[in-house]
């Protein structure tokens, strides 16, 4: 998983930096030619700022995302499922490590990023502010949310910033196994006993709204969005990614005889586009503002982990060591 397509809006930076127009033009030419931008290359101030936010939010989503699924490791039914889920959630924490390193190449330390997560300044994917209530939630998260994340991450892996693209390539490779794990649990429940099937349908009903929210509302095609697309920071619109996801996965869900809780969901034969009911964007924004079912719990757990582990980090610090930006 887990980078949601949606990066919440924030206030415009206080000081507007005017980049050297010649450097900017050369940079844009390079990006248009498909060259990757590397850490020590010149880059527009806004490019750096947006990338830090995006990669940081992605990294936070990985460690926070480990929490809802992590609670099911100790309850997974049988060795096979237990081993697979342990490996899967471990991968997610590993992705956080990769992504924090990628973001660090842009000049913000991992500690600063984690502090911003804990004090609520930077966000993570909204989807993790919902509870994982039963084992069937593991199936829905592993199959559908990982699938949605793959759509987003495959797009982003073709972006312009080298370290982020390389991290994403490796992440996508691992995610494809997560998808298999999720799909396997999903299929076993869907084709299992009546109890297993009803668990799965219930989980699907509960998760459908957060899944529809995953890519965020339609993009406003502002000057700013267009610039980010030109710089290959944003690689696809939220709507395009959502359509791609629906085309790939709704048929797979329906094939298994499961229903989705949206009476208006259907593919329009003329436009080839999926039509759906109002996904309740008011709820989406409420969750972003911190009022989702699990926002407080997730941050409290993360904060407790940071506080409890502070002595270890302090003791491991070498007085004569100097901060080194990781190699990208």
């Amino acid at each position: 998983m887990y980078g949601g397509g949606y990066i919440p809006k924030e206030e415009a930076p206080k000081a507007v930096v005017n980049d050297d127009p010649k450097m900017l033009a050369a940079f844009e030419e390079r990006v248009t030619r498909g060259e990757k931008v590397e850490p020590r290359d010149w880059m527009p101030t806004e490019y750096r700022r947006q990338l830090i936010r995006m990669i940081e939010q992605h990294a936070h989503s990985e460690i926070i995302g480990a929490l809802p699924e992590g609670t099911w490791i100790t309850r997974a039914p049988g060795f096979r499922r237990k081993l697979a889920l342990m490996a899967k959630v471990q991968d997610e924490v590993g992705h956080a490590q990769l992504l924090y390193s990628a973001a660090e190449t842009l000049g913000k330390s991992r500690e600063a990023m984690i502090n911003d997560l804990i004090n609520g300044k930077s966000k993570y994917s909204n989807v993790f502010n919902y509870p994982a209530k039963t084992w069937a939630d593991v199936a829905v998260i592993g199959f559908l949310i990982d699938a949605a994340a793959i759509v987003n991450q495959v797009a982003n892996s073709k972006g312009s910033y080298g370290p982020y693209c390389r991290a994403l390539e490796r992440i996508c490779y691992e995610e494809s196994f997560h998808l298999k794990q999720g799909h396997s649990v999903f299929v076993y429940l869907a084709t299992g006993t009546p109890l297993q099937r009803s668990m799965l349908q219930d989980a699907l009903n509960r998760w459908w709204k957060p899944i529809m929210h995953f890519f965020g509302p339609s993009d406003e095609m502002s000057e700013h969005t267009l610039t980010l697309m030109k710089w290959k920071v944003k690689m696809a619109t939220n709507d395009d990614m959502r359509q791609q996801f629906l085309s790939l996965y709704v048929p797979k869900i329906q094939e298994l005889g499961l229903s989705l809780p949206d009476a208006e969901l259907r593919k329009d034969t003329d436009s080839g586009k999926w039509l759906f009911g109002d996904p309740d964007w008011a709820e989406f924004f409420a969750v972003i503002r911190g009022n989702g079912p699990c926002n407080a719990e997730r941050l409290a757990v993360r904060k407790a982990a940071e506080v409890n582990g502070a002595w270890v980090r302090k003791a491991l610090q070498q007085p004569d060591a100097r901060y080194v930006t990781p190699l990208a």
Partner: protein, 265 residues
């Protein structure tokens, strides 16, 4: 785990002691693997989160290997049923592995204590005259080597830290669970029979080597173990007497499986 499916003949005399040995090993690895997995998402640094998760996966795999031997050679139920449906008193893990993860100092110390012992056990068992066990132990030994490397590195760094609080925490963790650690070597019923047949040594032999190995690790870290002769080992686990922590763990572990043990999950 690559284990031959052909059942190897076992003398009647050896069956019950061997069953006890393998169950103790399986249960120890299962329960500690479960505990270590509880660190997922909560580690003091990402790298430690990932390390504990790796170790937990290995240990779950080791448990599965031992339960598989029990199933294939000694008539025990299949590993899932065996691990997920027994009552608390039927478990023969030592009490050390049952304790909650506590703080990182407790978990790291337990990891060192346990894996040093596991390393020695696997080293000897890789020469066991019971071939299937020798093969499994050889495989596990290769993995435990990295666990020990990890535990030594972290205990060494914290034990040598210029931070006095960290050192004090580590020393306290060692002192607090030393009796529990000695409980890993609770004598097993019929252990001498297995020793005589070169299947597995008696526990006191392992205990002796473990003390030497532990002293060697702590030597030069500023940490030390209490006098083992003055600490009462916490026995009971091998005979089904457990701490108050095991029952809730089993309840949680089997929560989904119990919904329908016959279903395929």
């Amino acid at each position: 785990m690559n284990i031959p499916h052909k059942s190897v003949p076992i003398a009647d005399l050896h069956r019950e002691p061997l069953r006890q040995l393998l169950t103790a090993l399986a249960d120890d690895h299962l329960i500690l693997g479960h505990r270590h997995s509880e660190w997922t998402g909560l580690g003091p640094i990402l790298e430690e989160d990932i390390a504990f998760s790796s170790i937990a996966q290995d240990q779950m795999g080791h448990a599965l290997g031992f339960y598989t031997l029990l199933h294939e050679h000694l008539g025990a139920p299949d590993p899932d049923i065996h691990a997920f449906t027994r009552q608390e008193a039927e478990f023969s893990c030592c009490q050390l592995v049952e304790w909650p993860i506590g703080d990182y100092d407790f978990s790291l110390t337990r990891h060192l204590f346990f894996d040093l012992a596991a390393g020695l056990r696997m080293e000897t068992l890789s020469l066991s005259s019971f071939t299937p066990l020798a093969q499994l132990a050889t495989k596990i030994r290769g993995e435990v080597k990295y666990h020990i490397f990890h535990a030594k590195t972290m205990v060494g760094q914290l034990g040598n830290s210029s931070d006095e609080t960290a050192k004090a925490r580590m020393q306290t963790a060692i002192n607090r669970q030393f009796g529990l650690a000695l409980g890993m070597f609770e004598p097993r019923l019929g252990e001498q029979i297995l020793d005589d047949a070169h299947i597995a040594p008696i526990e006191s032999k392992w205990r002796e080597r473990w003390l030497e190995a532990l002293n060697a690790v702590l030597d030069g870290t500023g940490l030390q173990i209490p006098d083992p002769d003055r600490i009462e080992p916490v026995f009971g686990g091998r005979n089904g007497y457990h701490t108050e922590y095991l029952q809730p763990l089993l309840h949680e572990m089997t929560e989904v499986f119990r919904l329908d043990p016959q279903a395929e999950w």
